[in-house]
Structures are given as C-alpha cells and as structure tokens.
C-alpha cells in the first residue's frame, strides 16, 4: 500500500509540473501583457522598461525557471494589477470555488444515484427510457445556456431567487443545480450499467435465494459493489466540476477562483493566472489521489496491483 501511494505521489508531481509548463507557454504565446498594461499613448522606451521590469525580455526557459523556483515556496509573484501577491488573491477566492464545487457535487449525487439505481432495476421500462432521455438532455445542454435559462425563469420571471452573486443560501441554489445537472448524466449512466452488471452476479442470486429482502439485496450487496467504478469516475469528474465551475461562476458572478482567472486572462495578469492554474491542477490531482487510495482500501484487488 505504501509503495502504491508513493507511486501515485510521484505521478502527481509530474502532472503538476507538466501543467505549469504548459500554461506558462500558452500564456506567453497569447500576447504581450505590457501592450495591455500601458496606456495607448505610451512610448517605446516605456514598453521596454516595463518588459524589463517584469523580466519579459529574458529567454522563456529562464523566465520559467525563475517562476518555478519561487513557486515551489508558494511565491507566485505580485499581481500586475491587484497590488497584492498572486497567491493571496487566489487563496482568498478558493473557498468560494470549493463550496460551489461541493454543492454541485452533492446535486450530482442526489440526481445520479437514485435515478441510476432506479433505471437499472426497471431496465427497459418506461422509467429507464425516461431516465436515459433526461441524462442525454442534461449532457447535451451547454452549461452556459442552462445557467442563463435558470436565471430567466427563477429570477426574471418568478422573482424567487437572486440572479447572481454570493451571500445567502438562496444564492447557492441555481449555480449548484446548474453544475450538478451538467455532471450528473455520466455518473447516472455509470451507476445504471454498474448495477445491471452486479445484479446479474451469482452472489446476488445467492442472496436472493437466501430469502433476503429485495431492499437489502439492492442496497447492501449490489449497490456497494457497483459503487467502486463510480467512485473512481467521480474523482475524475471532480476536475470537470471545477472546469464547469469556471463557466458557472462567470454566469452567476460567483466570486471564486474562476472569475478571478477569467478576469486575469483578459488582463494578461500572468502571475495570477499561473498561480490559479497550478493550484487548481494540484487540487484535482490530490482529489484523484485520494480517490485512488480510498478505492484501494475498499477494493483490495487494486492495491495489490492486479
């Protein structure tokens, strides 16, 4: 088990370094931040001075190295606009994004687990078809559109919920629903197929023939076993949830890392974008690691490296 975790941690480090290099290169390809930073009437010398000030006149690998060597100590540099350390700006916003992601996650579970089990139990029935339809529709809806539709219905027409912002529990409802609906279909399909597979297993027949109640068979024996692949996928989907949070946050003016990142990309505020991307990657990789370990505990076949 220890070796298994060690191997996973090495992988984690490699992924984070890879992500940081990739985002670093992309940022430097998309344009010169100094052009945006200085007023339109600034002269050539001014541009050169700022380029030098930010170290943008050095070769890319030198810039990356100086960035990376400070970043491992948690120093991502000063924001070029915010007058504050990039790390502090990102960390301040991180809780909001995590709340939204977790709320979306809860909605995903609340939708996908019951519907998935139901669809599996009533296989090929009207219920199953309906569930599949809902799943397909949910998967096909662009998050962006869904968010705006929710706002139009619940805020503009019905005046039930605040259209955007952060503050009360009502503010959580639409963004988390929006996020949850987008992620639920894949999980639901997985629960369904997992349940169908497990329900045809011999030990289920045994359990039934022992005279167990159907409820006990379904939840105690079948569902628990069907959950193992679902947990792994949920871990992977966490990244997608964070990605979806970027769009959701923008639509609902949610004050999280995503709005900060989008805004910083617009301003080409490199330190903040870089810091946000690396920290988000770190979170995703950590979640996947935790999921792997958890699955390892639940399912001994995984950790023995079969």
């Amino acid at each position: 088990m220890r070796r298994y975790i060690a191997r996973q941690i090495v992988q984690l480090v490699v992924v984070v370094i890879g992500v940081s290099i990739l985002s670093f290169c992309i940022l430097h390809v998309i344009g010169d931040p100094v052009l945006l930073l200085l007023p339109q009437n600034a002269g050539k010398e001014e541009f050169e001075r700022y380029r030098h000030l930010f170290g943008l006149d050095r070769p890319l690998y030198v810039q990356y190295w100086s960035f990376a060597s400070r970043a491992v100590l948690g120093d991502f540099g000063q924001s070029w606009y915010g007058n504050a350390p990039a790390f502090q700006l990102v960390i301040e916003r991180m809780p909001y994004t995590l709340y939204l992601t977790l709320a979306g996650f809860a909605v995903t579970l609340a939708i996908s687990l019951p519907l998935g089990v139901l669809a599996a139990l009533k296989r090929h029935s009207l219920v199953d078809t309906l569930c599949t339809m809902v799943a397909t529709a949910g998967q096909a809806l662009p998050l962006f559109w869904l968010g705006i539709m929710l706002i139009i219905i619940f805020s503009v027409r019905l005046r039930l919920l605040p259209a955007s912002g952060y503050g009360t529990w009502q503010h959580f409802l639409m963004p988390s629903l929006c996020l949850g609906i987008a992620i639920a279909p894949i999980t639901m399909r997985l629960v369904r197929s997992g349940m169908i597979e497990v329900l045809s297993m011999d030990y289920i027949k045994t359990a039934r023939s022992k005279g167990m109640t159907e409820r006990r068979v379904v939840w105690k024996h079948a569902f628990r076993n069907a959950c193992i692949p679902v947990i792994t996928v949920l871990g992977l989907q966490f990244g997608q949830l964070l990605g979806g949070a970027i769009i959701t946050e923008t639509v609902f003016a949610w004050p999280g890392v995503a709005t900060l990142t989008v805004d910083s990309i617009r301003n080409q505020d490199f330190p903040v974008v870089q810091c946000a991307v690396v920290l988000l990657a770190l979170i995703i990789v950590l979640v996947i690691l935790i999921v792997d370990v958890v699955v390892g505990f639940i399912d001994p076949r995984v950790r023995t490296g079969a």
Partner: protein
C-alpha cells in the same frame, strides 16, 4: 464510508454558508445598486489605468473642476474660480469649509501634494501624462494655489476634471499601498467595505459640502457576464448598468421593470486611410480616391437601420461635443455617380483594389454589421475591398502603431476624455504620431498654434479652419460619433452621462 462522506460534505456546506452570510444593514429603499463587468484594480484613481476607477473615483473624491452634464461645460467644484496671471501661470481659488472623510480640512497643501505625487516620475502614476505640462504648484495661502505651466496650456481647466484631490496627511502618514485600498477623499460617498472582484459598499458622506446623495448606501457589484447583468437589472437586483448591446435594448424596454437611455459619448469612429503612405504606396495617397470613398458610403442609412439610431454624423473626426466643433460644416452625402467619376479621374475607371483591416467588436457596437454595409456601398462605387479580420484588438493596435494598419482600417478615438478638438487632432491627424496616417504641413501648423494659445475665440477659429481642411482633403473615411447605452431600473431617475462617468449620487427615486 458513504455516510461519512455525506456528513463531511454537509458540514462543509453548512459551515461555508454560515461563515459567508454578510450582515445587511441596508434596506432596498435606501440603497442603490450599480454593476460593473470587471472590478477596479485600485481605489487610488491616478494610479489606475481603468475607466471604472475614474467612475468610482467620482464617488469617494472630488475634482477641482467638474463637467455639468446638462451644458457639458466645465464649472467650479473644489475650486471656486481660476484665472490667468500670465501666459504660463494659473491661479486657482479653493472652496472653504470642505473636509476629507477623516475630518481633516481640505486646503491648498492638499492640492500641491496631489499634483506633486502624480507628477513624480518615480511614482509611475498612470495619470502623469495628463498633467505633464504642469511645471510646479505653489501654495499662496490656505485657499489659493498657483500653477506654473510649460508654455501656454489651454487645456489646463479641462484637465482639472481629470484629477481627484487626495489628502496630504494620508499621503504622508499612510503611503501608496494603503491608499490603493482606502480612499480618503472629500466626495459624496465613503467606502465601507471592498470584497475584491465581488462588491463595494459605500455609505453617504453626511458631512458632504455639496448636495447630498439621495441614497444612503451605494453598492457596486461585479458581474462579469452581460446576460446576467441584464437579468439582474430586470429582476431588480441592480439599478443601473452600462454598455448595453444594441440588440438587447428591446428586451429591457419591453420588460416593464427597466428602460434604456442613450447618450452621445466623446468618441468618433472612422476608417483611417493611409494618406501618409506609412505602409508604402497605395491608392489613398490620392485625394480623389479618398473623396470617392467618403462619397460612396451611406452613413445616414447605416446609422438609422443598422445602429438603431445610435450614432451622430460628423463631417470630420471632430466630435460634436468637443471644443472647436464646427456645426456649419455638413458631412459628405452618398453620391455614387460622383464617387465613380472621381475614381475614374484618379486613374481607376475599372475600380480599385483595397485591403481593409477590420477590428473586433469591443469598442464600437455592431462594428461587423456596419463594416458589411460600408464595404457593400464602396463596392457600388468601384472599390473592390478585401477584408482582413484581426480578432485581437491588441494585435490590431500594435500593427497600427507600427505603421502597418493601412491602406484602410477600423479606428475610433476617445479623446482621452478631453472635450477639445486638440485631443484628436494631435494624436490622429498630426504628421508622424503613432496613430496618425495623415500628413499635411498646413494642418500641423494649425494644430501647433491651437495648442499654444489661451484665447478661446482664436482657438475656435483655428479649429474651424482645420475642419474645413480635413473635410476638403477627405483625410480619412469619416463615420460618426458613438453613443453609449445604459439600462436603468424603473424605480430610479437617472440621466445618461455624456462623459461616460456614471454619477450615482445624482440618482433619485422615480417620480410617479
């Protein structure tokens, strides 16, 4: 396992909600809500590059002079009067009995400290360029200040509207970093709380020297997505939004909860033609070709049908709101026969090929549609226009500065918010400037005389001459003055500002 996870999730959520619930002391009736698409970087206006920082600055600070939104003239504010002692000296009298938010009285030493701070090259203030002509500031007594300028400086008073007055005591005791987050001004509102990229809360300054704002609280929310901003306006979450896209005006006007208002703004749009041959020889170095282009386009039709009326025809690049504008000069009118004739005379009886660098729709509303219309009109006169779309405005601006924008490209000019003909003539028409593709010694002389005279009447005459010259020579393909569109909640009365600076302290409840 599942149960533990659920409990942890639930606890995190509950905790998160509990920790984040702010205390709402204000009620809907005494609060006005404004929204911006992106947050300001600093509450220290001279240090910021953003227009939003200027707008918010108007609420916490005051300027020496300010623009009257009705007459569009600059009038007294913290300064009560100003006069020339000689060609390079201005004397300004200050208002007495004005206090900063921290209780210290506003006096001449604050004015001196404010300008010296902005002008200090080591401070790298963004606003420094606005005041570079000021050489020194002298305190005569507590309420009299003298400015020495580098040569005659006719824009002095105009520029007084572009500088907020900050406290000398705060500069000395707190420093730049602190000032970036804590505005201590003399303005109508005081900052209570700033959650970056989320919200600002301001409270009325009950000791304000001028008319006090109606609303006790001013909330400024940051809403990055336009559709959400409009939804907030319609559902009553926000009272005022700016930069409404023309195609959304109907939605707002028919909602019953809000309405739109437009105002001409200080920005003119044109297609710049490479008369100066910065990108090498091209057909537009010939005046007849430039005139033909101006005669080809039916701008009146485009403004009416494509822009829903959101534009004001101009005869040259000079905006109707700028000092020096000549209302008697009539713009070119579409005349395809004359255009064809001019092209033939210029040596293009079978038409001419033109490359057109197009920009993205971030400054001008509906720019693609209006370009479609102009290009179609030009085709009728014999211009075969090849359109090259540059999707990144930064790239377009960089190309233009390097002289690679020609032979024809999209451009508009915001005058750096200075309501004066010089603010466009110098940057966009003077030979050798980075955004100018026009070169004419006669015009350059007029520009030079105009900016070195303090006599308003003489200056006005010079600019009339300059406009006649620009019109006759058809320097660029002139389009129109732009208009801004605001969305206003039906619960408030509010006038759309021509200088694009929203003043929420002027808003009042709507009279039934």
């Amino acid at each position: 396992m599942g149960r533990t996870l659920a409990v942890v999730l639930a606890l995190t959520l509950v905790l998160g909600l509990a920790l984040s619930c702010p205390v709402h002391a204000q009620t809907k009736e005494d609060t006005i809500v404004y929204s911006l698409q992106s947050d300001i970087d600093s509450w220290d206006p001279p240090a910021s590059v953003l227009r939003e920082a200027i707008i918010l600055g108007y609420h916490a600070f005051d300027h020496l002079a300010t623009r009257d939104l009705k007459t569009r003239r600059v009038g007294p504010n913290l300064a009560t009067s100003w006069r020339n002692i000689d060609d390079t000296t201005w004397e300004v009298k200050l208002r007495q009995g004005v206090k900063f938010h921290d209780g210290t009285p506003f006096t001449a030493k604050d004015v001196k400290a404010t300008f010296e701070r902005v002008l200090d090259p080591a401070k790298k203030m963004t606003a420094r360029g606005n005041h570079a002509k000021i050489k020194s500031v002298e305190v005569m007594d507590d309420y009299t200040v003298r400015f020495k300028t580098d040569g005659p400086y006719p824009l002095f008073v105009e520029r007084l509207t572009a500088q907020v007055m900050q406290s000398e005591k705060v500069m000395r005791e707190k420093g730049d970093q602190w000032m970036g987050e804590n505005p201590v001004g003399t303005g109508p509102y005081k900052l209570v709380k700033w959650n970056r990229k989320q919200e600002h809360l301001l409270v009325r300054n009950d000791d304000y020297w001028g008319p006090k704002p109606y609303y006790k609280y001013l909330r400024i929310r940051i809403i990055p997505e336009k559709a959400t901003e409009i939804a907030e306006l319609l559902s009553g979450g926000v009272d005022l939004i700016k930069a409404v896209p023309p195609d959304q005006m109907d939605v707002i006007d028919k909602s019953g909860g809000a309405r739109t208002a437009s105002s001409p703004i200080l920005r003119t749009a044109m297609l710049q033609l490479d008369q100066a041959a910065r990108g090498g020889p091209n057909p537009f170095t010939d005046r007849k070709v430039r005139q033909a282009a101006n005669l080809a386009a039916d701008h009146d039709g485009i403004i009416k049908h494509v822009l829903n009326g959101l534009g004001d025809r101009v005869a040259t690049g000079i905006n109707p709101m700028a000092f020096g504008w000549d209302p008697t000069l009539k713009p070119y009118k579409q005349d395809l026969a004359a255009a064809k004739k001019l092209l033939a005379e210029a040596g293009y009886p079978n038409g001419v090929d033109i490359i057109f660098h197009e920009g993205p729709p971030i400054v001008e509303p509906a720019i693609q549609q209006t370009n479609d219309a102009i290009v179609a009109d030009m085709a009728k006169a014999g211009f075969r226009v090849k359109r090259v779309y540059i999707g990144d405005n930064t790239v377009l601006v960089a190309r233009i500065k390097e002289g690679k924008g020609g032979p024809m490209f999209n451009w508009s000019w915001g005058y750096y918010s200075v309501f004066d003909a010089d603010a466009i003539l110098y940057d966009v028409f003077k030979c050798g400037e980075s955004y100018s593709y026009y070169c004419n010694k006669e015009l350059d002389d007029l520009i030079a005389t105009g900016r070195s005279s303090l006599d308003a009447k003489k200056r006005a005459e010079i600019y009339v001459k300059a406009q006649k010259l620009l019109y006759d020579d058809a320097a660029y393909l002139y389009k129109w003055g732009l208009r801004g569109v605001w969305g206003i909640s039906n619960r408030i009365d509010y006038t759309a500002p021509a200088d694009e600076v929203d003043r929420l302290f002027l808003a009042t409840p709507r009279k039934k």
